[in-house]
């Protein structure tokens, strides 16, 4: 009970920090490129209007960047304090991408960030433009390495566990970097951040138009944001499909939770809209859904690219016995929960025996235990479970977050298309864009919606993979530090107060800068 409380507190604290961090980061990822486009226009045309426009959005970028860096540091701090077993266990695998991120990408962006802000009129136009592009690229490179590390946790490849050090050792750097899970995740996350930034630019510009201020600045900013946003949203949809396919291959339980799917059959439908039965639990006979509108065979197509294929539900994964394609592309029979637990316990026991043999210097026994551990290591984490529900993530949160994310993604596709249509009408002189007030209000309302969409995406990714910190290898209850739950709860409250204060301060600074407008920026 105490351990459960500690795990819950530590998870809550990490989730809180990550969610605050993700308020600031996505805006910088996309806004950096929007600013770079604007400055390129200034460089090519020499028109001071574009310099003024770029400088305004650069300031919004800077505020977010600075606060985002601070929250990112705290996340890394929490790995050591709250998740020390995990930090030790992941060893160099997690360390390498984070070190590259720190040394290369962060210093790249930090160096050119200074030139970008302090360098106007001090360095040449060309050098300043290069610095702006490199800052935007550097911010995204930082995200790339973090996302590679995160993807490895969802699909651990290119590693071997060393029982002598209790650390995972990297055997194939490129397998870690170019794992299909990582490629899809970083493409999906980066493009979703571009979408978010575009909506923020649209919303702020709409505010200026509603106030009757900075009309040219607002319309031209919106035009760039609408094009960038539409392209990004199309890419988000494309990469989202790829991500779901990868989840189906490597994290079938997460996909089942995303769909609220318990008992499946070939030609599995995709729930477009639905209400989960809150009473439903693993193995009971209740209906999983109270109401649903489904797309026939949709999930089979999404997960396996075949309409008649079988996508396992939660109970199917627990029971095992269905055929699937394993990581080596071969057909295999899925083991049941009991099989996985048994093999996990063998692996844990082998680790214990190995450790004892090492202390007595029995090398022959060590080799035998190492072999047993290696044979059963892919199920290592299941050895900590006692009942099938232990391996099931929170279904409701995952299911609804997934639907919120997808529906809002669809809404933003229409939103950007409508914005481009209205801006084209304005350009042709048919109707002034500034007079379409309903769309301007909608643009402002869309700002919180895009943040909800973005956060929902992370909830699907991180809550959906519970109870794992590293898929199939390390569950949360073994990854956590042995600190007192009360300490974590106390700091959780302090963090919440601090983060909220910081968010209010940041928003106040941001609003005051927006109110000044591009003419108020020196």
């Amino acid at each position: 009970m105490i351990l459960t409380s500690l795990v819950e507190a530590s998870r809550l604290q990490f989730a809180l920090t990550a969610m605050f961090h993700w308020i600031f980061v996505p805006l910088t990822l996309g806004l950096g490129f929007i600013v770079a486009f604007m400055e390129t226009k200034y460089y090519l045309s020499g028109n001071e209007f574009w310099k003024k426009t770029a400088k305004f959005w650069m300031r919004i970028f800077g505020i977010n960047f600075a606060v985002g860096v601070a929250t990112g540091l705290i996340l890394e701090f929490e790995f050591g304090t709250n998740w020390s077993n995990y930090s030790w266990f992941v060893g160099d695998i997690f360390g390498a991408p984070l070190a590259i991120e720190g040394i290369f990408a962060f210093f790249l962006e930090a160096t050119f960030f200074a030139v970008m802000f302090f360098g106007w009129d001090k360095v040449s136009k060309r050098f300043h433009l290069t610095a702006t592009w490199l800052t935007a690229i550097g911010a995204n490179l930082s995200a790339v390495w973090i996302l590679i590390a995160n993807s490895w946790m969802q699909y651990p490849v290119g590693m071997e566990f060393n029982p002598e050090t209790a650390r995972s050792e990297m055997t194939d750097f490129w397998a870690v970097v170019f794992s299909p899970m990582a490629m899809n995740k970083l493409f999906h996350t980066a493009t979703s951040a571009f979408m978010l930034s575009s909506v923020v630019v649209m919303g702020i510009s709409a505010w200026f138009l509603l106030k009757g201020r900075e009309t040219e600045f607002a319309k031209k900013s919106m035009k760039i944001a609408a094009v960038f946003g539409l392209v990004s949203t199309l890419l988000v949809a494309y990469s989202g499909d790829g991500s779901a396919y990868q989840v189906g291959k490597h994290q079938p339980m997460k996909l089942a939770a995303m769909e609220g799917l318990y008992d499946s059959e070939p030609g599995t439908p995709l729930v477009a809209v639905g209400i989960l039965n809150p009473e439903k639990t693993v193995y009971d006979q209740r209906e999983a859904m109270l109401f649903q509108i489904s797309i026939p065979q949709g999930l089979s197509l999404l997960a396996n690219r075949r309409l008649d294929s079988f996508v396992p539900g939660i109970n199917d994964i627990i029971k095992g016995g269905y055929t699937y394609i394993d990581n080596e592309g071969k057909q295999a029979i899925a083991p049941s929960f009991e099989d996985r637990v048994a093999r996990g316990k063998i692996a844990i026991e082998a680790l214990a025996d190995f450790n004892r043999a090492r202390q007595t210097g029995d090398t022959e026994q060590m080799e035998q235990d190492r072999r047993v551990l290696k044979e059963n290591f892919e199920h290592f984490g299941y050895g900590y479970f006692s009942q099938p529900s232990d391996m099931v993530p929170p279904v409701g949160l995952t299911f609804y977050s997934f639907r919120i994310m997808v529906m809002l993604g669809g809404y933003f596709l229409l939103f950007f298309a409508a914005a481009l249509y209205l801006l084209c009408r304005d350009k042709k002189g048919k109707k002034d864009f500034g007079s379409v007030r309903w769309f301007l209000y909608l643009s402002i309302v869309s700002i919180p919606l895009v943040y909800i969409c973005s956060q929902a995406g992370w909830i699907v990714a991180e809550v959906g993979r519970q109870p794992w910190t590293i898929q199939n290898l390390l569950p949360v209850q073994t990854a956590v530090s042995g600190v007192s739950a009360s300490s974590v709860y106390t700091t959780l409250v302090i963090f919440f107060v601090l983060f909220t204060t910081l968010l209010i301060a940041e928003l106040k600074i941001m609003f005051s800068q927006i109110k000044k407008g591009p003419d108020g920026i020196k």
Binding site: N85, W88, L351, N355, V483, T491
Partner: protein, 87 residues
């Protein structure tokens, strides 16, 4: 003795060392910051509280009592085999 022309700019002003110029660039930049100063203050207060106060009073480093990597890995193996013990 003639001055070293390579260290002179066109107007006859002495060229500054590259490091001095970089430091000067940052110094002037930071001095002219307005919004940035407020942001830096917020960030520094937050980092101080998080890294110093919380670490000092609330969290112990779980692996700190173990000096060598072997001792640290031994503790982690113990946690992996016997489960995490809470305070």
């Amino acid at each position: 003795m003639y001055p070293d022309n390579s260290l002179m700019e066109k107007g006859g002003r002495r060229k500054e060392n590259i490091f001095r110029r970089i430091i000067g660039f940052y110094w002037t930049g930071f001095k002219s910051m307005t919004v940035g100063k407020t942001l830096w203050i917020i960030i520094l207060i937050k980092i101080f509280i998080l890294f110093f106060v919380l670490r000092l009073f609330f969290f112990k480093n779980d692996l700190a009592p173990y000096k060598t990597p072997a001792e640290k890995s031994g503790h982690v193996i113990e946690n992996l085999v016997e489960g995490v013990k809470t305070e």
